[in-house]
Symmetry: C2
Subunit: 214 residues, 2 copies
């Protein structure tokens, strides 16, 4: 009775081909080519077949979103594994985050909604937990236990992420390209800003615990 198995397998294959083809369309032709009809055309099935695999267009996006966060979490974990000193780990993760964003531009844009239609839905991604755990781990490791009672690693994690995301998204949306040029800077500036931001952050933790003096 392997018939039902084969059917299951074939169905899974169609599902995969939908996702693969859709992603291929996005990467090669941009987000404007991400349409149900174009996917259906590419996989040589009719439009309603796609709706038998995914509830709607957003469900496909959600799938990519999940995969994106999984990839990012893995990337950060790998970068962290290369070092033992927590400060080095944070630096490496910061650079890895940056590299991931620009090596996987489409994923990053999808994950953080830079100019993508229909990302209204609040998303629940399990891999995000792994993403923040790996960062918070290094942050906690930087401050000797009990030395800074008021120290909040989760707060520092949010600062860290905010800085990185801001840096990436501003550079990705090209909002600062003309500015860089008008200020006579060459194209290496964003990386310098990255290092500057990482340096400030790590110094801020090393001298941590003090609340804002205002």
């Amino acid at each position: 009775m392997g018939i039902v198995d084969r059917k299951q397998r074939q169905k899974e294959e169609v599902r995969s081909s939908i996702l693969d083809t859709a992603w291929d369309l996005v990467v090669t032709e941009g987000w404007h080519s991400f349409s149900i009809r174009k996917i259906a055309d590419a996989i040589e099935y009719s439009v309603p077949v796609i709706y038998s695999h995914f509830e709607n267009k957003d469900a496909i996006l959600l799938e990519f979103n999940r995969k994106g966060f999984r990839l990012l979490a893995e990337t950060l974990a790998a970068a962290k594994a290369g070092h033992t000193d927590p400060a080095d780990q944070l630096r490496a993760m910061g650079r890895a985050y940056w590299n991931f964003a620009f090596a996987n531009k489409e994923y990053y844009q999808l994950m953080f909604g830079l100019g993508i239609p229909t990302c209204e839905t609040v998303i629940k991604i399990p891999a995000m937990q792994q993403f923040n755990e790996v960062i918070i781990g290094s942050i906690i490791a930087m401050v000797p236990q009990g030395q800074q009672p008021a120290f909040d690693p989760f707060l520092k994690y949010q600062s860290f992420w905010s800085m990185l995301h801001g840096l990436v998204s501003i550079n990705m949306s090209r909002l600062n390209v003309e500015q860089n040029e008008s200020h006579g800077h060459h194209e290496g500036l964003p990386l310098k800003v990255l290092e500057d931001v990482l340096c400030s952050f790590i110094r801020g933790i090393q001298a941590a615990g003090l609340p804002a003096e205002n």
Copy 2:
């Protein structure tokens, strides 16, 4: 011969009503209601009338974009004017930036492309110059002239902006809401992160000039 004047005035009125009505639609019904047809319906004109005032849909968005940056630049300038100490100015501008973003969510989303369709076009906004000048001014003022020869205010400005934008956009897209809750944090955390980030940044400038030790 005031006829041509009246016509000019009437044309200007229609143009304004397009912009006002469109913005009203966005604020009350969200970005998904921002459509040429809905605008035309609301102003009680036919669709092509809109195209006689704006080249296309993006041109209307560009108009909002300009206004958004103008508003933001004014807000920052006002915040800066309330203080004389550069560090205080930066802190005030940081808080003003945050407040602007959440008081004018739709503007901020449009300006920085959080989930808005059709913002592919690279934008040239004159008010952005004012925006960065007002920030860079305070940054330069913090470091006594000639004391740090390798100090780059423009680099620091980008760090500052990146941190703020990252913080805002992560909080705005609700990506961290569930995280905050799962870590047992109340709703005041984002503001604490803001203060933490501002504090780190200002300390980083006060002890500036040193390159990253790696």
